[in-house]
């Protein structure tokens, strides 16, 4: 009996050995688990906004163009305002200024780069900006016009900065940005809390800004009027989403404490695919929250697109 049992045991083991084999036809089969419609998740670079803002950031949308000779002066002024008021002022370069921002049609022309955006053009038309340089400052009217000439920027900004009520934060944003370095898809998962009551429809829009772009720029401050070949463009608006400048509606007449939340991989997740020529490591992501009824920008903040970037 014992011997029979041992035979059975041995045969059982041998049979077990023969059946213990995995043949793999596709060495990369497991990658399917990681590959979603936004790319291979192992290439995800996640940035959580941890700015922990203590006050409102004043947004200057500087309408400019690489063929606009007077625009670099406005850019420099904007930079001066930012430097003088760290963390309270931010300038976005919107290269939509008609002839001043169009790329050269001549293939041998000096201005081949195309920095115009659909969002910038929509804003330029909506706010009737026809001469340059010019800016929108929190998209608020100033002397009965949304367009603020550069001569008024400092006065406008200082007025706002001196108003504590104005500089109070209107929203707290705790969001997550996931950028996939392989697919170049950026996913934004916003979580917004209203800190005060507002009337009107509140929209959330994401800007992608790029820094360190080197390309020619006209500058009238140089008498020989030849373009500066290695001009460095910073905070240049590359894209705005969803729906270009419009964004997504997050509140209507919110009260203090109201929350807008999005789940990962949900329909409300905001997605955008970066173009190959954009240097992702030099890009920033900016959140713009505005009142679609009054047009006013109520909240603005930025963060690097990637953990090692910005």
């Amino acid at each position: 009996m014992m011997k029979k049992l041992l035979w059975i045991l041995n045969l059982f083991l041998v049979t077990g050995v023969f059946t213990s084999c995995d043949e793999v036809d596709d060495p990369y089969e497991h990658l399917d688990e990681f590959i979603t419609d936004t790319g291979d998740s192992r290439f995800n670079d996640t940035v959580m906004n941890d700015a922990n803002l203590s006050s409102r950031v004043i947004l200057i949308e500087d309408f400019t163009g690489h063929k606009c000779p007077n625009c670099p002066a406005a850019t420099d002024l904007g930079k001066q305002l930012v430097d003088d008021n760290p963390g309270q002022v931010f300038v976005v370069a919107v290269h939509n200024s008609g002839n001043f921002s169009e790329p050269d049609s001549d293939p041998d022309g000096k201005f081949q780069a195309d920095y115009e955006t659909e969002a910038g053009e929509n804003l330029r038309v909506e706010f009737q900006i026809a001469s340059f340089p010019a800016g929108l400052i929190d998209r608020q009217e100033w002397n009965n016009s949304f367009r603020v000439g550069m001569g008024q920027w400092e006065n406008n900004v200082n007025t706002k900065l001196q108003n504590p009520d104005y500089m109070e934060l209107n929203f707290r944003v705790n969001s997550t940005n996931i950028y996939n370095t392989d697919s170049r898809i950026l996913r934004v998962v916003p979580n917004v809390t209203a800190l005060d009551s507002e009337s009107g429809e509140i929209y959330f829009v994401v800007y992608i800004l790029e820094n360190g772009i080197v390309s020619p720029q006209e500058d009238s401050r140089f008498p020989d009027s030849t373009p500066i070949k290695d001009y460095i463009h910073n905070h240049l608006l590359r894209a705005s989403f969803p729906l270009d400048d419009i964004g997504t509606k997050i509140f209507e007449n919110p009260s203090s404490g109201d929350q807008y939340m999005t789940e990962f991989q949900s329909m409300d997740e905001l997605r955008f695919e970066l173009k190959p020529e954009w240097a992702a490591q030099n890009c920033e992501v900016a959140y713009v929250i505005y009142n679609r009824t009054s047009k006013e920008v109520l909240h603005f903040e930025t963060m690097p697109l990637m953990n090692s970037g910005g």
Partner: protein, 558 residues
Amino acid sequence: MRLFIVLTVLIAVVFSVHTQAQEKKVDLGEVHGNFDLRGQFYNPDSAIGAPEVPEKFLFNGFANINYHKGNFYAGLRYESYQNVLLGFAPEYQGNGITNRFVQYNDGQLDITVGNFYEQFGNGQILRAYYEPSLGIDNSIDGARFKYNIHGIYLKAVIGQQRWYFEQSPGIVRGGDIEFQLNEILKDRMPKKTRVSFGFSAVSKYQEDNNVDLTLPENVLAYGGRMQVKYKKWMLRGEYTYKYNDPNADNGYIYKEGQMLQLTASYNRKGFGVTVSAHTLDNMFFRSDRNNSSQFQDMFINYIPALTKQHTYNLMATLYPYATQPRGEIAFQGDVIYKIKKGTALGGKYGTTVNVNYSYAANLDTTNLNDVDSIGQARQGYTSNLFKIGERANGSTDQYFGDFNIEISRKLNKTFKLRAVYQNLLYRRELLEGKPGVGNVYANVGVLDLLTKLNRKSSIRTELQGLFTNQDKGDWATFLVEYTYAPHWFVSVMDQWNYGNDIEDEQFHFPIASVGYIKEATRITLSYGRQREGIFCVGGVCRVVPASNGLTVSITSSF
């Protein structure tokens, strides 16, 4: 410290039992074992590339203690490395009981739990063995069942292999069945014919934790073998196949592995001829797929070498061949003939002539370039098991060639002479892993004269020369060994690289040894320079680094 106490208590108990057994004449079983202690003082010698050893003295030691009573067996091995001798894996560090087992064996049923060694067939898919001179111990820690009945031999094993003082992450499972037809059919088999055949299978399991690839967690290898002996003839063959086993050795390709080995021989009094051949492809088979250590860690299988294992040091340690699990075709022919005594050629006492030739080359392979991008099959290459590969310049992709002839003759009652000639081709680029380095072509001659001075004492002298235009050029070795039986021997040897193109590196490697043997105990002291070389056992090799110093070796068994 705890291990030391356990060991001390165990030894005390064992000796106590032994002593009591003797006093009371009660059969309490038998205790046997052996010790092997080797230590070396190292002197700095930068000229020959001997590294400075901070500890000055290094030590390898082990003791096996085995107990046996009736059908019951048990044993353990204690190992100590303080620190490990140069040339062995640095993972051998510290002390511990590395092997322990209990076994029941009644001749028909054999059950072992703990560490055990095992081999299926000639080891192509499983060979767990211990070779301390190479630093190899791939014992399996687990359970083994062996059972035989009426000529049918069955084995089943399961466990994890030893990895220095730890264990392999993979689990090895295997089964083997062998049929000895002469035992099964008894008188129905033709006389003077012996036939056996067997089948074996081994599967290893290792978790797939690779983020880049989908790896097979269970890898199966199987094989069949047969041996037929008829009168003075013998024919033996074994074929094994291994399923996809991506691993660090093969660059994580999913190609199958295969090996075929055939041996035929004819032997009669005074004459023997053996011809062997094997062809193999992608036969790396370790229980840890991520290990590609040069120290042969966790190999489940063993590829027998088809080259002659030489004993004279210039032939054995300068350019020996290590089998290539990546792929090779090899064959060996060996003829031994004893010219009768009393003839003109044979002389008064007869003359033995041994002619041997071995050859190894790469397989014919075609690269598939399918491992660089995601989505590809990662088969790596295709191969033809029965075709020798060619190099880019059209020449044969030969790894090794060794023609040697050995003539032994007793001249008279005082002198016995042995003369050896070897012609060698050695693919240094591949076998030493030095890309771009050319082949070594060498001729080696050895004269070995044994002079019996009287009934107890003898002197043996060796004169060896290796002649080559490559690598470090010509070498000569001179050895004198005096033996005073049965206890003492003294030897002096010098190896001289007189043909080195760099005159400053025409080094001498003198070494003197003295040994004392009493019954099963042997004590050896050696002092001198040790040349960097390669030490091989059965086609498995390790690099012996250059050193200078005093070596002490004590071995004993009881």
